[in-house]
Symmetry: C2
Subunit: 412 residues, 2 copies
């Protein structure tokens, strides 16, 4: 483990100085290598999938693990698309001439060495390698053991492509052991590794956050709310609620809880309930909700604050905006929350008060996404408040340093 | 402990929404209260100093602990000056209209609740209260037990002033216990506290970083280098070395190690050694240095990478820029490093390669400071790469959120 981290650390100063052209050329070569070696990757993946079936791994996990020709083409095209994004390194964030003649430049620089710990999905291997290279970082990849052969094949093909395009050896490291103590030892190497990004279930992320001496950027869960205000346009509200709940219920920016102002509940809830029923959404409501939606199940205390990731929706009728804000503060996860209202003051009170990575007015929570925000590919969505919050794109994989140009200045 | 943290968390949503005028008015009231209650603070301080003397606490620590009328006036004027700085909250960091009509604004927001753990110096109490209030944060203050009565008096006076100006109760909390287990329990409250900033010796900071579940922004130490290149203007080099070493040797941005290109060593070192001798600086040199400075002590391996914080300087002759870069990468602390050169390519190689919070060309390392960078007051200098690097001013005490304004948009 120590050698892997040390090799990455050693390579990091050279990777940081690769030019934009070098990095983009390497990314294109990596994408080509992947296309050329598709059969190698797919055979490795077949073995992983076969073993996963034997081990009775849940079907959803097997689906995430499985690759085919179109999925592999998508992975290659994602690597290619990262070549087209602007280089996040070397930006002048600000520049200031001081009265003493010192020119101070705040410049973006790579973070250094990034450790990614993730579960099953093999596309994460390729995405992380591409995003880290483009941002001038070295990366240690620790994928799930169920995807080991797939990740090994992807890693060999992609790092081979990168090496042939001049990327220093050591820029990419695959951690192949599944020994927990070995992985834990990596989390202690604060002198060699700059950041840890765990991607996967809440259990994995909490475990990493608890153990790590290295700073962690994390995303626990998305318990996203939509609040339908008394001043809502109810047609917009219905469209937004349906989209936020059903367009892709298994993702972190999908809505889990609907809050409805009591003045519009009578008019809004019965219509909405019919539309949700067509989409097979199960409603769990408080007493006031069930008054207007008789078929709804009663919501338990546990339903508030639960990330269902499924066609289940908790619904509560609130007496006003303040009660909605209180509910979100208590049960939300600081991820994405929306208000539907035509009242500008209410909208402002909501966006000012809700402490989440993205706060929406009259739009679906599903838009909290790097691509939708115009940032290009993303490493995930951070629910932390330090360093990166919300979608983590290439810029969020950089730090900065001050470059100060003088002519012999000394401090008085 | 739990109640203190919960009170801060509860207050944080209201403190975050204070207007710039409210915050500035409160800061001015706080400064006035301090001036009015000077005798109360000074008597409390006298008791702390008396006890410290009894306990044979080192003289340097007693000096840091002791207050007098001019020092107190300086503390009040520092609080006042923070009222004059721009409000770091509510800035639009960027704004983007997406093709679907969504307006995305990245807005600066307070971090939330900040825990500061610090040693003796009572001015930290006032500075942190002022900086946290101005940045819309709530703060938990855990000062050193040797300054407890002073901190209590300062806290009562300042929080009384703030409360009379309308700052919500709970915005400031003083942790008065010196029970280590109680303080440790605070470091576990990741749901209530957003950031921990330890200020003090390396031991304290390592202990906090090791224990905390909450993200920590830290500064371990400053082992700052000046490299005098073969293309240096030697008059500038002498001036910079003298300033970086002797202007204030006890601070983190003072120089600890000088690297000299072998082609200029013969000419530069004897002249420099005479100037350093006048300032009573002890030189610890490698063999080549001692060739030109016969009076120098031999440097041991331990001297490279040591933060002397004293009139001691490690000196090494290197064969070229690359060897200097290698030395800094191995022994430096990522704080502040400088090159003296008239060669633009060498300067660029140095600023590109040295991985420190601030990298200087032809200027003293002593300029790595919030005030000198035009940022106003600072919370310290971070040697981390995540979130804040280098001087931590008001902007570094903020996070951001995305505020997205739509008109019924849903995701396709």
């Amino acid at each position: 483990m120590k050698k892997i981290a040390l090799d990455a650390k050693t390579a990091s100063s050279r990777v940081a100085l690769l030019s934009t052209d070098q990095k983009n050329a390497a990314l294109l070569t990596m994408a080509q290598s992947l296309t050329a070696a598709a059969s190698k990757v797919l055979s490795a993946n077949r073995l992983d999938v076969k073993d996963a079936r034997k081990k009775n791994i849940p079907q959803a996990m097997i689906a995430r693990l499985s690759l085919d020709v179109p999925k592999l083409a998508k992975i290659a095209s994602s690597v290619e698309s990262i070549a087209k994004l602007p280089d996040p390194v070397g930006r002048v964030l600000w520049e200031r001439m001081r009265p003493n003649g010192l020119l101070i430049r705040k410049m973006s620089v790579p973070l250094g060495v990034i450790l990614i710990i993730y579960e099953s999905r093999p596309n994460v291997t390729a995405d992380c390698m591409a995003l880290c290279l483009k941002s001038g970082n070295c990366v240690l990849l620790k994928g799930g053991s169920e995807a080991l052969r797939t990740n090994q094949a992807l890693f060999e093909v992609l790092s081979g492509g990168a090496a042939s395009a001049g990327v220093p050896k050591g820029a990419f490291q695959l951690v192949t052991t599944s020994d927990r103590a070995a992985v834990k030892s990596l989390l202690m190497m604060e002198d060699l590794i700059d950041v840890v990004i765990p991607r996967g279930g809440e259990g994995l992320i909490r475990e990493v956050a608890k153990t790590s001496r290295i700073p962690v950027i994390k995303h626990y869960k998305g318990v996203c709310h939509v609040y339908v205000d008394e001043a809502a346009d109810l047609a917009k509200a219905e469209k937004i609620v349906l989209n936020a709940k059903t367009q892709n219920p298994s993702v972190c920016n999908a809505m889990e809880c609907l809050l409805v102002h009591e003045r519009v509940a009578k008019k809004f809830l019965p219509v909405l309930a019919r539309a949700l029923a067509q989409k097979k959404v199960e409603i769990r409501g408080d007493a006031k909700t069930r008054q207007w939606v008789p078929g709804a199940k009663p919501a338990s205390e546990k339903d508030w604050g639960t990330e269902f990731l499924d066609l289940v929706l908790a619904v509560r009728v609130v007496k006003d905006l303040e009660e909605a804000l209180g509910h979100i503060a208590r049960y939300g996860s600081r991820h994405s929350d929306a208000i539907v209202t035509e009242n500008a003051e209410h909208a402002e009170r909501f966006t000012g008060s809700v402490d989440s990575s993205a706060v929406f007015v009259n739009a679906s929570t599903r838009f909290n996404d790097g691509g939708e925000f115009g940032m290009g590919a993303e490493m995930g969505i951070s629910t932390d408040k330090l360093h990166a919050r919300g979608p983590m794109g290439l810029e969020e994989l950089t730090s900065y340093k001050y470059v100060v140009l003088g002519d012999g200045q000394v401090r008085a």
